[in-house]
């Protein structure tokens, strides 16, 4: 399963500081561009995957055998709805707060920038990396010859704040996931991330 070898939090925290240093030199836009850019590079480094059927794919994902679940434990909650119970960045975020105190406000500024310029789905700067990684990795997975599609529905920050898409998108995404809004909120009580995975008909 994912995260078999624990990272050293010393390293995790220094990566957050690296991004803060980038924002000192290149502003919030530079921060956002780098975090998105490196997530794309990381996704391009992982091996491609192909599955015959949707069931083969979902089995690989929930068993931690797919590149999509390399860094997180994913659970399937409906035909196309998936959740991540523990955010893979939560340990790094906790360690940052424990060691250094309040998060540098630049992380929220970059998150707002991402939500306004790319898509309104991030609850923390780490979500920008995570969601970009998922999006790019999905392009490398084929099921029955068709590329996997990914869309974020909800993401919960360490403060408890949940990032949700605009009403019009939310309705479509929940329908695509095969869950109601109430079920979605119930899932977000227990999990950190809710998203839809599907293949285009």
């Amino acid at each position: 399963m994912a995260e078999t070898i624990a990272s050293n939090p010393f390293v995790d925290v220094s990566v957050f500081l690296f991004f803060e240093d980038i924002s000192d030199k290149q502003g919030v836009e530079g921060f956002t561009n780098y975090i998105v850019g490196q997530a794309k590079s990381l996704a391009k480094s992982v091996p491609e995957e192909e599955y015959d059927t949707w069931e083969d794919f979902t089995n690989a994902v929930v068993n931690g055998e797919s590149v999509l679940s390399s860094f997180e434990n994913i659970k399937q909650i409906s035909s196309n709805g998936f959740v991540t119970n523990v955010c893979p960045f939560s340990k790094a975020i906790r360690e940052y707060i424990k060691r250094l105190g309040n998060f540098n406000p630049v992380h929220m500024e970059a998150t707002d920038h991402y939500n306004h310029t790319i898509q309104p789905s991030a609850a923390h700067s780490a979500c920008m990396m995570h969601q970009t990684y998922r999006n790019e990795v999905a392009k490398r997975i084929k099921i029955g010859g068709k590329p996997l599609q990914y869309a974020q529905i909800a993401a919960k920050a360490y403060t408890g704040k949940i990032a949700l898409p605009p009403e019009s998108w939310k309705k479509v995404l929940l329908e695509k996931a095969g869950i109601s809004e109430t079920q979605g909120f119930m899932e977000m009580r227990e999990n950190s991330c809710l998203y839809v995975l599907y293949i285009q008909d």
């Binding site: 070898i5 990272s7 010393f10 220094s14 990566v15 997530a39 990381l42 105190g101």
Partner: protein, 208 residues
């Protein structure tokens, strides 16, 4: 996942800011990390060494450290001015293992950045992360006082993933420790450093 991202971030940064730019970023990160940890004061070396053993100092957030109390460093008058410490496991080791397992070989940019640092600043990095790690220790040590005297960190030696060893002879000479002794410590450690009272040495005092 944050740590895994580091390799692609460095790869990306090298293409935009060059290896020298990444070295500068890492040096600043090490400094700001240490500065934000705050100051510490200990009444004497026994209190400080107990804190090191128990992982309570800003220096031990990097991982478990062996406190080599048998390697007390003394000045010309025989007064203890510091000790040698060994970090058991490099903080990047779990990340390297997981990156190789999940993604593939470590990108060449890791070594390119380390080489840039080794050639231009100091020949002591076995991976790009050593740059920020060693800088962190040096700045963090300056924020610690033992018996009201600020400390100085002397990096002595470290060992890379493939067994390559970097050793700083000028620092070994300053504390008068034989390099064969340090090599024997590296058999069961990834990094060896000394913490001494700032400006002192095993021989004459260093002028400020």
């Amino acid at each position: 996942m944050m740590d895994i991202a580091l390799y692609s971030l460095v790869d990306d940064m090298v293409s935009k800011a060059g290896t020298e730019g990444v070295v500068e970023y890492w040096l600043r990160v090490g400094e700001s990390y240490a500065e934000r940890m705050g100051k510490e004061a200990y009444v004497g070396w026994p209190a400080f060494n107990v804190a090191m053993k128990e992982g309570r100092t800003s220096l031990t957030i990097e991982g478990e450290v062996n406190v080599l109390t048998d390697l007390a460093i003394t000045d010309k008058d025989g007064d203890v001015i510091g000790y040698v410490y060994a970090l058991k496991t490099c903080p990047m080791a779990p990340t390297m293992i997981r990156f190789i397992q999940k993604i593939g070989p470590i990108p060449d940019s890791d070594e390119d950045v380390a080489d840039s640092y080794n050639n231009r600043i100091r020949d002591s990095a076995v991976s790009n992360y050593c740059i920020t790690h060693q800088r962190f220790r040096e700045v963090a040590a300056n924020n610690i006082t033992v018996a009201k005297q600020p400390l100085e960190c002397l990096h002595l030696a470290n060992k890379g993933r493939m067994g390559e060893v970097k050793m700083l002879q000028e620092n070994l000479a300053r504390i008068n420790v034989d390099d064969r002794h340090i090599k024997s410590i590296l058999r069961s450690a990834s990094c060896v450093f000394a913490l001494i009272v700032k400006g002192k040495s095993a021989g004459e005092e260093i002028a400020e």
